[in-house]
């Protein structure tokens, strides 16, 4: 994902570079080639004309002398000279007697010959097998205003070809070099542009995952820098909103405690009187249960906001070294009365010292909620076991019960706030569905994990895994 934008940029720029440099190179090459060939053909025509006029008087008069001149000139200019009679037959070949194959007496069918017989002077370039690139030119041989033949010259132009090959090599080199430069430059620019975007993306993901303290540090005087600033402002605002939400819940909960305290003590004083008829007593007890429930809700909300606050502030200042064995024993001692009420066996299994570094209150609440759940959701005469252990750098605390279990379809949701399965709601077991939310919040605060495995009607195993602290 991170390279996408940079790659696109590189591809587009490379395309543009090849188009521009390639077209320019092609045009330049063509112009250059035409120039070289035009110059050469001009030179060749001029030369041919001179030879033609030199040879014209001798044609038909002194064949030997004419051949001799052609031969000399041919050697001078490094070209092959052939004289054709007006019917297109080779009358004189300068290389006759030297070349392995001379053309005298043969017909030369070539468009240039015809055009020369018609009075034109032309050149053309052709590729000949075994010889290479060759330039032909034909000039009419005129004596007293009459065309008496054609002088046909063929000359290798390897030098021009070599120059052109050299040029195309250079052009290719420049094309390649500019391609590489553009590629490196755009990859650099791409990095420059996308690196902060990548950081922003990851920051946004973490922010989305709940870490509202997330900020980015992008010092750029361009749009990317502005985006970074906007991101930071947004995160700060979110944090502010979250903080005031927490403060609101905290304040509201605290405010509720005063009237709840009044209701509770008044109810207790009323219930302590012996004078009520049974119906009134039952009514008072119902009200008291309601007050207790509300007080429990307020407590859970306060614990949750406190944990949220601890997580948001990220402060470990108050963290302690905590002996998980002692914690397990303490929680089970505190929960013993609940277990006894249902005749449950409540056991702690903790042989070795296991310590973690953390928030004492948070961990106590977490373990307490797990044990209370195990007791609450296990029928009479069942068993609840708290075990503590350590594997490598991970500390474990496991609460295991022989209770109702949790239906698979409820499992993904039980850690959500206020989630209670329907059957549990209808049962009188009566919590709010905040216990496990507190557990997961507390475990998250410590960078730990929580794992559940449960079989309906067989039991549940909840395992908290925390980074272990080194002991002593």
């Amino acid at each position: 994902m991170r390279f996408k934008l940079g790659l696109q940029l590189t591809a587009v720029f490379l395309l543009i570079t090849f188009l521009v440099v390639g077209t320019a190179g092609y045009l330049f090459f063509n112009t250059f080639r035409r120039r070289l060939i035009d110059e050469r053909s001009m030179a060749q025509l001029t030369q041919t004309n001179i030879i033609a006029s030199g040879v014209a008087p001798l044609i038909g008069e002194d064949q030997v002398e004419a051949r001799q001149i052609l031969r000399t000139r041919s050697r001078e200019v490094g070209a092959r000279l052939v004289f054709l009679d007006p019917r297109g037959r080779v009358a004189l070949d300068a290389s006759a007697g030297m070349a392995e194959r001379h053309l005298e007496g043969e017909r030369l069918d070539h468009p240039l010959v015809e055009s020369a017989l018609a009075g034109g002077q032309e050149t053309s370039v052709q590729f000949l097998d075994g010889v290479g690139w060759t330039m032909y030119s034909t000039v009419p041989v005129i004596r007293r205003g009459e065309i008496i033949g054609v002088l046909f010259v063929s000359e290798g132009i390897d030098d021009i070809v070599a120059a052109l090959v050299d040029l195309s090599r250079q052009l290719a080199f420049y094309l390649g070099a500019s391609g590489i430069i553009v590629m490196l430059a755009t990859i650099g620019i791409g990095q420059y542009l996308t690196a902060p975007l990548g950081r922003l993306t990851r920051a946004a993901e973490r922010l989305g995952a709940g870490n509202l303290a997330e900020r980015v540090d992008i010092r750029r005087r361009n749009e990317v820098g502005r985006l970074g600033e906007a991101f930071n402002r947004m995160a700060a605002q979110l944090e502010q909103v979250d903080r005031s939400r927490r403060r609101f819940i905290g304040d509201a909960s605290h405010e509720m405690r005063t009237p709840l305290g009044t209701a509770k003590i008044v109810l207790e004083s009323l219930l302590a009187q012996q004078t009520h008829d049974p119906e009134t007593r039952r009514a008072l007890q119902t009200i008291e249960e309601g007050v207790d429930r509300l007080a429990g809700l307020v407590n859970s909300l306060l614990v949750l906001t406190r944990l949220e606050h601890a997580k948001a502030s990220g402060s470990e200042e108050r963290w302690q070294d905590i002996d998980l064995r002692e914690l397990a024993h303490q929680v089970s001692a505190d929960c013993r009365p609940l277990a006894d009420e249902k005749a449950l066996r409540l056991e702690v299994n903790a042989a070795n010292l296991v310590e973690v570094h953390g928030d004492e209150d948070a961990l106590y609440r977490a373990v307490r909620n797990l044990v209370e759940n195990a007791i609450r959701y296990t029928p009479r005469d069942g068993r609840v076991e708290v075990a503590v252990g350590r594997v490598g750098a991970r500390a474990f605390l496991q609460v295991r019960d022989t209770g109702n279990g949790i239906a698979p379809e409820d499992l993904p949701y039980i850690f959500e706030r206020f989630y209670r399965p329907d059957d549990a709601r209808s049962r009188q077991a009566g919590g709010f569905g905040l216990g496990l939310a507190i557990v997961s919040e507390a475990v998250e605060l410590h960078g730990g994990r929580i794992d559940v495995s449960s079989k309906p009607d067989e039991g549940t195993v909840m395992t908290i895994e925390l980074p272990a602290a080194d002991v002593e």
Binding site: H254, E255, R257, T258, L260, G261, T262, A263, K264, I265, V266, E268, S269, A272, Q273, V291, A295, L302, R306, Q320, D321, D323, R325, E326, L327, A328, H329, Q330, A333, A350, L353, D359, E360, D361, A362, Y364, E472
Partner: protein, 233 residues
């Protein structure tokens, strides 16, 4: 006959609590603001002061701090907020215990019993200066000796000081900050891990099972206290 002063501006609450105390045969005097509360508590004769945290004129924290200048009367704070526990229990304010509303009256009774017994331990003439016995744990200040179920235990000077401080106020929870200030002095401020380490060592000496301490207990999320095995609970 126990005399209790209740300083509370919430009249419904004060009335309910007074009636509940009356049902137990305990007379409670009520005042509804901090200034008056302080005057009444000073002019005295009370065995216990129940102090609301949020009071008109002078809040509970200030009342307690003022009262502590010249009175050792046990004070239990009643509060709707539990986020300043450290402060309430701290050295500066000097409350003996606190309870958050709403609470069970039974819970309040238990706290009162502990606080009263603590006051008695403190006030028994001659004994508290030299020797404190809390069930199976005996501290002898003159010889700086510790006995667990009659067996002597070797402790360092600092460990003895820590134990002695806790033993002078059995069942009273001390925050780590307070222990640090009192035993180590203010120059160690903030380094509460030292308290942890010290407690761990002390437990190794006086407890048969550190995971289930019999004497030196943890009040989770608050601090440490020494249990009084004789205190009814």
């Amino acid at each position: 006959m126990m005399r209790v002063l209740l300083v509370e501006d919430e009249t419904g609450f004060a009335g309910g609590l007074k009636r509940r105390f009356a049902q137990e045969g305990i007379e409670v005097d009520m005042v509804s603001d901090g200034r008056q509360g302080l005057d009444r508590a000073r002019s005295g004769g009370y065995d216990l002061v129940l102090l609301d945290l949020m009071l008109p004129k002078m809040d509970g924290i200030e009342v307690c701090r003022e009262l502590r200048r010249n009175s050792e009367v046990p004070v239990i704070m009643l509060t709707a907020r539990d986020d300043d526990v450290d402060k309430i229990l701290g050295l500066e304010i000097g409350a003996d215990d606190y309870l958050t509303k709403p609470f069970n009256f039974r819970e309040l009774q238990a706290r009162i019993r502990a606080v009263m017994r603590r006051a008695r331990v403190r006030n028994t003439p001659g004994v508290n200066e030299e020797r404190i016995q809390l069930g199976g744990l005996i501290l002898d200040a003159r010889r700086r000796a510790v006995l667990v179920d009659g067996d002597p235990v070797d402790v360092t000077a600092r460990e003895f000081d820590l134990l002695w401080l806790l033993a002078c106020h059995p069942e009273r929870v001390f925050t780590r900050e307070e222990l640090l200030d009192r035993i180590w002095g203010f120059d160690h401020h903030g380094d509460t891990r030292m308290v942890n380490v010290q407690v761990r060592r002390l437990r190794q000496k006086i407890e048969s099972d550190r995971a289930e301490p019999r004497f030196l207990r943890t009040k989770w999320g608050v601090g440490y206290y020494l249990i009084d095995e004789e205190c009814p609970r």
